[in-house]
């Protein structure tokens, strides 16, 4: 049986059990993403990815909860991409994600018929 490790108690305060190990997100990957985020990011302390694993977890939880609200409004039980997009648009602090979620959807500006017309001309 897997024994709780030193930091599993820390994850309990976030409501996540220690089942996935001390941290629910891989620290090496977090560090990689941090380094990729900008040229200025040269050195990262050991504790930064650990702090981020907690913050990302909370972010995912909040966005999921808000998405689920939209799912329920639509009387569904499956969370769809559009539910996540709606939650982003409805929350001020998630403004930085608006272009990301609207960009991943199909553009509604040009219909397929109009695209054909443009190509022919």
């Amino acid at each position: 049986m897997r024994q709780p490790r030193r930091y599993s108690g820390l994850t309990m305060c976030g409501g996540i059990s220690g089942r996935t190990g001390p941290h629910s997100l891989p620290l090496a990957r977090i560090k990689k993403i941090m380094k990729n985020s900008g040229e200025d990011v040269k050195m990262i302390s050991g504790e930064a990815p650990i702090v981020f694993s907690k913050a990302c977890e909370m972010f995912i939880e909040e966005l999921t909860r808000r998405s689920w609200m939209t799912t329920l409004e639509g009387k569904r039980r499956t969370v769809h991409k559009d539910d996540v997009a709606s939650a982003v648009v409805a929350t001020d602090i998630f403004d930085f994600l608006v272009s990301l979620v609207s960009g991943s959807c199909c553009s509604e500006d040009i219909t397929p018929v109009e695209i054909e017309t443009l190509e022919k001309s």
Binding site: K54, C56, K81
Partner: protein, 144 residues
Amino acid sequence: MVDQEQDGMLPIANVGRIMKQILPPRAKISKEAKQTMQECATEFLSFVTGEASDKCHKENRKTVNGDDICWALSALGFDNYAQATIRYLHKYREAERDKAAANNNQNTADIKSYGGLQVPQQNQTSNLEFRVLGKGDNSLVTKP
């Protein structure tokens, strides 16, 4: 999606697991919703890192640390995350200090039992151990 792109994002399995744990047991999540969440979480990471990194740059510091992340979270409006992560960071630092203290005690015990150097029995004080290791002064060891 190419594998290389996936490498630059948080793993979808972990993201999906966190989502599942917060939802009611019978709720389902579409694959696209998980992918979108994966992208959003990765963007969140980059966004907050950028803010933290800017702060370090302005203060002429090279290393982004846990406090910078907490500060950036607050600066960007994620106050509740900031408070929780500050508490988490303090607990982590306490745990690290306890671990370091436990390691130091263990090392001291190892020094006393280390048979490589002949430490005179009547001089088995912490001072002597320190000097033997720190300076490698053989005159102390060979002294009768």
